[in-house]
Symmetry: C2
Subunit: 382 residues, 2 copies
């Protein structure tokens, strides 16, 4: 683990895997609290050029991480966007310097509720509730430490798209291009409902212990698994579920007439839930989903329900935008991207927007969709 | 509580509220087990005419009950279909003799996992896994005891529609008309996934105690509340959620920056979950949703994935059918009803099928949709 806090920007390590940076200042949060001693875990790929104008910030999704194109340290699986980021790939590391930080509140090395507070004890429920903008605030300080004063592009899907949008509005001079995939400018109410369901499942687990389970040797795995199952269903399309599992039974044609997993989809969901608990922290799940539920880019810009207020939020942006939605994504449907496109148009910002056809539901932005590769490659061309 | 087991059919009580009937024979189940001493709780409205040809069986949905048009004994709320069933209403009790039994496996008086087994102890997890056809099997025995040899119609929405379809196929001479609302001939995989999520939430609750909690003074309320929240989200449309709650906060404009219920939709879901535990049994929820997940009317009729097999299942039906779907119902979408209509057509059975426009999602069949009133009234006219 290298610590860049002692490294001058220009000496930024290349292809830094497993790097961390300790903020040299307290982090002031939207909720009014201040976090001291924040550490950010991140990875970089490629080289920052002399003009320092080839940096791309990639923002990860809810339960994602900084392991963009290197194997996940726990699961051993390839980095979550290794099909997109690398030499000669759409986000070409021969050309770009790509930075991916783990978000504030997470559990993959960046400070979160499972980290030790300055008093030496885990934060647990003492960790402050954060916002998407707070996550970006930490990213911006990391960029500065890495010698990156402006970004060729900021890119993100789902919650990563929220970060990209927040950056474009609140740090309008930072990114020249903003690429937002399968995301929204304000969390839709149905998603708030599903996220609340997940949080309730975690908080209903007695092992949650009011959030103070870190260091007790116990954790609300059962509740977290249920939360993950709920989220996982929403990430997939009905078409994917039908094709992948249909009503096929686990053991040939025999129903068990019991409460074991009869259907393949039941077994799959149980596996998804259980395996998730081995790589993610329940409190991080609470804090990150809360930040997403809170996300409303138009907040503070005029009256509620006033259709023009999102355009107001975009009034000062200086970036070019590219928005992508997927036709089978029912969690962040095309209408959400269209709302953003309309508001950007109204604010006079350059934007291209397209709905891609892909069968994988919300997960499409992570999977093999060649049309997406072409969109990203084209948007980054010049 | 009157017990009709001692009453001759022709002396059937009129408007029997809170009636029960104890089967005078063991109930053989699809799973191969046999239930002894089954009690069925039911209500009736109107009068069986001398020709005994005006009886309508109404089948309730997952967590519904026999309190069709009388107040619920626990919540005090009006019967769940009191807008549809009564004198002069679409299901006109001046004309029809309407019977609504509580399904096998439930907890409102009919034998279920919370009932006492013949050994005097609660069934709990010893209760056998049942099917939709098992529920109908019990209904048919009740009908016989009530002197009803054939039905003017069988009517049901959601799980009630599954019962109506099962009755039409497995007791083809019983019902002259079959009215199926917002239902399916085979539980779609996404619904199996959501139901499995709910079951996992219940079984993850330590108070579930392997299902043997009846009589312990404890029950898996937290898990059941989470299961209910999940189901409730799927019953509503995005439009209903947006209109009813949107992103409106509980306390004006102030976010709590905590994990209380910030948004109105969060508070609403918590209330739905918590209040449900006061009126429903967690094990009943497990058994009934399992029966629904198992439901596949085409089972046993030819190969899997063979498009003609549902038509095979309908080959021997003798009823007229009416199918209704709702355009905002994403849990049992119109495509499910269309599949049934096509199969009935292929089997040469008379069927009318329509998709109604209503904003309430899956719950539309329970709510104020005047077009539905007209469909039901018309279908029952002659």
């Amino acid at each position: 683990m290298s610590d860049t806090s002692a490294i001058l920007p220009i000496e930024t390590p290349l292809n830094a895997v497993g790097a961390t940076y300790d903020l040299d200042q307290p982090l002031e949060l939207d909720g009014g609290q201040v976090l001291h001693g924040v550490r950010i875990a991140y990875e970089t790929y490629g080289t920052l050029n002399e003009a320092r104008d080839n940096a791309i910030l990639v923002c990860h999704a809810t339960t994602g991480d900084q392991h963009l194109a290197t194997p996940h340290p726990i699961t051993g699986k390839p980095g979550w966007w290794s099909r997109m980021v690398g030499p000669g790939l759409p986000i070409d590391t021969d050309r770009f310097y790509v930075i991916c930080p783990n978000v504030l509140g997470s559990c993959m090395g960046t400070t979160g509720p499972g980290s030790l507070a300055p008093d030496g004890l885990p934060y647990g429920p003492r960790f402050p509730v954060i916002t998407i903008r707070d996550m970006v605030r930490a990213h911006v300080l990391l960029l500065k430490a890495l010698g990156v004063e402006n970004l060729y592009a900021v890119i993100g899907g789902s919650m990563g798209g929220m970060q990209a949008l927040s950056l474009s509005v609140h740090w309008p001079d930072l990114a020249r291009r903003v690429l937002v995939l399968a995301s929204t400018a304000a969390m839709p109410v149905q998603n708030i409902a599903f996220q609340e369901l997940g949080r309730q499942a975690i908080m209903a687990d007695p092992e949650w212990q009011g959030g103070a389970y870190h260091g007790t040797g116990k954790s609300p795995d059962a509740g977290l698994a249920v939360a993950r199952m709920a989220a996982h269903i929403t990430y997939l399309s009905e078409a994917t579920l039908s094709e992948k599992f249909g009503r096929r039974l686990q053991n040939g044609q025999a129903k068990s007439f019991g409460f074991g997993a009869d259907f393949q989809v039941e077994s799959y969901l149980r596996y998804q839930g259980e395996s998730f608990t081995g790589r993610f922290d329940a409190n991080s799940y609470l804090y990150i989903t809360k930040a997403m539920s809170y996300f409303d880019l138009a907040e503070g810009h005029g009256e509620d329900d006033h259709p023009g207020r999102l355009a107001e939020a975009f009034k000062g942006v200086h970036s070019r935008f590219c928005l992508v939605s997927f036709d089978t994504d029912w969690l962040y449907p095309t209408s959400e991207s269209r709302t953003i496109a309309h508001a950007l148009n109204a604010a006079g910002a350059p934007v291209s927007f397209m709905e891609l056809s892909a069968p994988f539901g919300h997960d499409s932005f992570l999977l093999d969709v060649p049309a997406l590769d072409r969109v990203i490659e084209g948007f980054l061309l010049r």
